[in-house]
Subunit: 116 residues, 2 copies
């Protein structure tokens, strides 16, 4: 695969699996490309809540808005330019704030394979 | 490891190995933490040039400024909110523009191990 550049407009955003809220994800690079990692964008509407057990190591880079992530270890809140690292196995609740949020994400290995 | 949040101020930026220009990197998560991936921030001064063969799969999320990445496949230029994917094995030239650049990066596996 060559060097690639992506913008959020390149991502086919679809509802994040297992929830019917206003949370959408779009992979840009994943198992279909033979890459070891998944790369994509995530968009959260205002005041959304996602409860999830993290099945892969997941990194979210905050591009717009704010997210709060609660786990056994407490709650972190991140805004533009900040990074949230979700280690595999963590049980988390992710909450968007009033302005929603846009993230870039990288997972190892592929979250879509791991969720089955 | 627990869920973690990072800001660029958390990174101990040091000169990127193998170059004496104005390019600095700081890992926040890596082999020291038992994670499978490395997470960090990179800061590029204005008009810097880095020639490198990519030894790991490397994702750069652009937070500030612009970078152009040239490889056999051509040149891509990315700005804030965009993602550049550098697959392992690519020989690239990375150029910052007049305003410099700030990136968040994720690599699989650990770039510091792979460079030896």
């Amino acid at each position: 695969m060559n060097v690639r550049k992506f913008a959020v407009a390149d991502a086919a955003l679809e509802r994040s699996p297992g929830q019917d809220g206003d949370i959408f994800v779009g992979n840009l690079v994943d198992q279909r490309h033979g890459a070891p990692i998944t790369i994509g964008y995530g968009r959260y509407g205002p005041d959304q809540v996602l409860e999830e057990t993290i099945v892969v190591d997941d990194v979210m880079v905050m591009l717009e808005g704010r997210l709060s992530v609660s786990s056994d270890g407490g709650t972190v809140t991140a805004g533009p330019g900040e990074i949230v690292y979700l280690p595999k196995g963590q049980k988390v609740t992710i909450r968007s704030h009033a302005q929603g949020a846009l993230t870039a994400y990288v997972t190892y290995p592929h979250w879509r394979d791991a969720r089955g």
